[in-house]
């Protein structure tokens, strides 16, 4: 059988033109009811309106600029740096015999705790400027030895912590743009952890020791932590300038702004033989929690939800009105192939909603971004393809939800019950995941199995395994990839449509 051609209920050949005629008829039906057309236009305008409101409502002009890494992404670049200038190629080695962290348990109390991504080791960095390129090898609180560079890249080295019993030795060599990290347990046998290419370092870099200690996640919030490392046997190879090591707090100078717990600050004591370095902060990509003032495209498209409700109402009425007015009998007398009638309805409704949604998104996203940026709001950057995906994703989300509403409307044959059902199926999980106090496991489960999974198409934030944070839908992180989340909603719509078609064929009209 040719694709796109189905047989009628009686099994007879219905012809390729039949479906196009049904689509034409359903389109005529749709466009000739003013309320549906207005509803669709409103659904397109709501995201634009909300994006404009979001864009103009917050004024952050004059606030601190967000540090941006070499890749253009926002970064956290705040740590304690014990450094000297290094001209040209060279390297250094160090031993780490302790890395301990403290987390405040009360206003004035610090208690020892585990900070898995506390870091202590060697770093070669273009400068002490925030966001400058770097490469580092380090011991971590809970993830063994790692080699990281330019904020986003992370390579695992030998596992295990550093202690007096298991002293970890680290080595970092620069040769042009290539920086190689090594690890050793005895100072004789070195294991290469990785070689990374960091462009833009320039001829003279700052090299030395660093300690960072990212905030510990505590329920919905975080608590600033501080970590102290004991490092020894510091040796340099190459053209190291200057006689003394300099201690610098990279990033905000005020300990409070740099993320230190009360009454603590970054410091180093001792000499090259044995140094004790205390630091807080992180060298890592920024996430929602570390950049709470940053906006996302998803934030700008909050109006999608309002549009969704309008679309659900229109989609339900598109069929429920036919039942209410007994018009369904006229429809089915004119076209006895019932499944095809339903498909034609779905095609028209989904198509119209998709076009409206795409038009709304194509205006809302750039306009909202522009307004927000002109008001000094930092918007998490996205690639052009991700922005297109967000726009098409919103259109697809609305279109698919309208088809789901049409299906449920067909099942119920009654608008009130169908609108309530679909709205509850979408609104309830949406409200639950929008609640910051919802446990992450529940919120993520809801965003996996309910229709709101489709909101993943608006996700532009990236989840980093090397950054501990609350990754929940509330923060803009969805458990499913964008189109995988959309597929969940599409699954509901397809199942709904199939059930509706089955019942429509079985029931007396």
């Amino acid at each position: 059988m040719t694709a796109g051609v189905a047989t009628s209920r009686s099994g007879r050949w219905a012809g390729p033109n039949g479906f196009a005629r049904l689509v034409h008829a359903e389109w005529t039906k749709f466009r000739t009811v003013r309320g549906w057309v207005i509803g669709t236009v409103v659904a397109a305008l709501l995201p634009v309106l909300v994006a404009v409101l979001a864009g103009v409502s917050s004024d952050q002009r004059g606030s601190q600029t967000v540090p941006v890494g070499p890749g253009g992404e926002p970064v956290t670049d705040s740590f304690y740096f014990v450094h000297r200038p290094l001209a040209g190629d060279g390297g250094m080695t160090v031993s780490v015999s302790a890395l301990s962290s403290s987390i405040p348990s009360g206003p004035a109390d610090l208690e020892p705790g585990t900070v898995p991504w506390a870091k202590a080791g060697l770093v070669i960095k273009q400068s002490t400027r925030q966001g400058s390129p770097y490469a580092a090898i380090m011991v971590t609180g809970g993830h063994g030895i790692r080699m990281q560079n330019d904020y986003v890249d992370d390579t695992a080295g030998p596992p295990g912590p550093a202690s007096a019993a298991t002293v970890r030795r680290l080595r970092l060599d620069r040769s042009g743009d290539a920086i190689t990290g090594y690890a050793s347990a005895d100072g004789t046998h070195w294991t290469k952890v990785g070689t990374v290419h960091t462009s833009g370092l320039g001829p003279a870099v700052q090299g030395g020791l660093f300690v960072a200690s990212p905030p510990a996640v505590d329920g919905r919030g975080t608590r600033g932590s501080v970590s102290t490392a004991v490092l020894g046997d510091l040796r340099g190879q190459g053209n190291w300038a200057g006689g003394d090591w300099t201690g610098t707090q990279v990033g905000p100078e005020s300990p409070t702004f740099a993320g230190y717990p009360r009454n603590t600050s970054g410091s180093f004591t001792g000499a090259a033989g044995r140094l004790t370095v205390t630091g807080a902060g992180d060298m890592a990509p920024a996430v929602r929690e570390t950049l709470p003032t940053g906006g996302t495209l998803g934030d700008l498209l909050t109006g999608t939800f309002a549009a969704l409700i309008v679309v659900v109402v229109v989609g339900t009425l598109f069929i429920a009105t036919e039942y209410r007015e007994n018009l369904i009998r006229v429809t089915l007398a004119a076209a006895p192939a019932r499944s095809r009638v339903l498909l034609a309805k779905a095609a028209v409704l989904g198509g119209v909603t998709f076009v409206a949604g795409l038009a709304g998104a194509a205006v809302a996203v750039p306009l909202g971004e522009r307004l927000a940026r002109s008001h000094g709001v930092y918007v998490f950057p996205v690639t052009a393809s991700a922005e297109l995906r967000v726009e098409f994703g919103m259109a697809a989300l609305l279109a698919t939800a309208s088809v789901l509403a049409l299906s449920v409307g067909t099942l119920f044959r009654h608008s009130a019950g169908a609108v309530t059902t679909v709205t509850v199926a979408v609104v309830l999980p949406y409200v639950l995941i929008a609640n910051p106090f919802m446990p992450a496991s529940v919120a993520n489960w809801l965003a996996r199995v309910t229709p709101v999974a489709a909101f993943a198409v608006q996700q532009t934030l990236v989840r980093y395994h090397q950054v501990t944070s609350n990754y929940t839908p509330y923060d803009g992180y969805y458990p499913l990839a964008p189109w995988a989340g959309f597929t969940v909603l599409a699954g509901y719509a397809v199942a709904g449509l199939a059930t509706a078609a089955l019942l429509l064929r079985r029931r007396d009209a």
């Binding site: 009686s10 007879r12 219905a14 389109w27 039906k29 009105t321 007015e325 007994n326 007398a333 076209a335």
Partner: protein, 345 residues
Amino acid sequence: MGRSRVASTATGPEPGAAYNRRHESISNSRLTAVSAPGIVVAGLHKRYGATLALDGMSFSVRPGVVTGFVGPNGAGKSTTMRVILGLDAVAEGTALIEGKPYRSLRHPLNHVGSLLDASALHPGRSGRNHLLWLAHSQGLAARRVDQVLERTGLAPAARRKAGGYSLGMRQRLGIAAALLGDPPVVMLDEPFNGMDPDGIIWMRGFLRSLAAEGRAVLVSSHLMSEVQDTADHLVVVGRGRAVADAGVAELIAAVSGNRVNLRTTAGTAATRVLTQAGATVTRAGGRDTLVVSGLPADRIVTLLGESAVPFSEVSAHRAGLEEVYLELTRDAVEFRAMTPTEAAR
């Protein structure tokens, strides 16, 4: 009902059975003459829960005549029409349009035009747009929409929202929809409902003109008076089946039977004389009129003359269609008020 129960007191077979038998021979002869009549319904059975909606409904509708489809509410008229249109499924039986099941028709509106419910429209859509989507579903052009609007006289109101139409205008819109595909078969359910007298007259003429164009026209009504001046042929239904299927003239003749109207001032004496001679006598509409069955008119005259009972007139009894209808459907009316006679018991 003031009228006496003629048929039930008459001896002989049930009138309905007689018409059915008669009809079988008629329809058989017609079937040989006409290859595929407009609508052929055969042995429809349908049940809604405990209620038997259709119980062997069978009849056919010929082209070129208006067939009245009459019966009390709940007798199965609308259900039958929905079955013909493929909207409702049946447990048994077939309904064919020009020899084919409705659901096999590729563009059904080119074969059957139907009006089931004049209110079946979206109130926010104009009449013209209502017809337009129907036309598009059949691949018909907008020009055809304007033609049927002209023909039904709805053109001036065509661009107004249908929600504001009177019932009469909705009926016209429904007729316009039925005519879109210029179908050889037209089927209308209660088209006279809610029409004003002008509308009823228009509708009658319109139905006749459709039949005159050679179309098979089936018109249902629960009131015989609405169709008796329009229909050439009647299918009377009760309790889910056709109790009569015959021409209007045949039907009247058959119900009238060989009964005689007797006008006399000495009703009691006449009844006694004629009953002794084996006749059945009942009192008819007029105060002085008796209906006599079982004796020919000349024998009645002789008997009354011998017994010196005065009378002023003896004539063949001629039943009205309304009476025919009531007789045929008496058993089929599910909820009817008791007659005075029954109430007196």
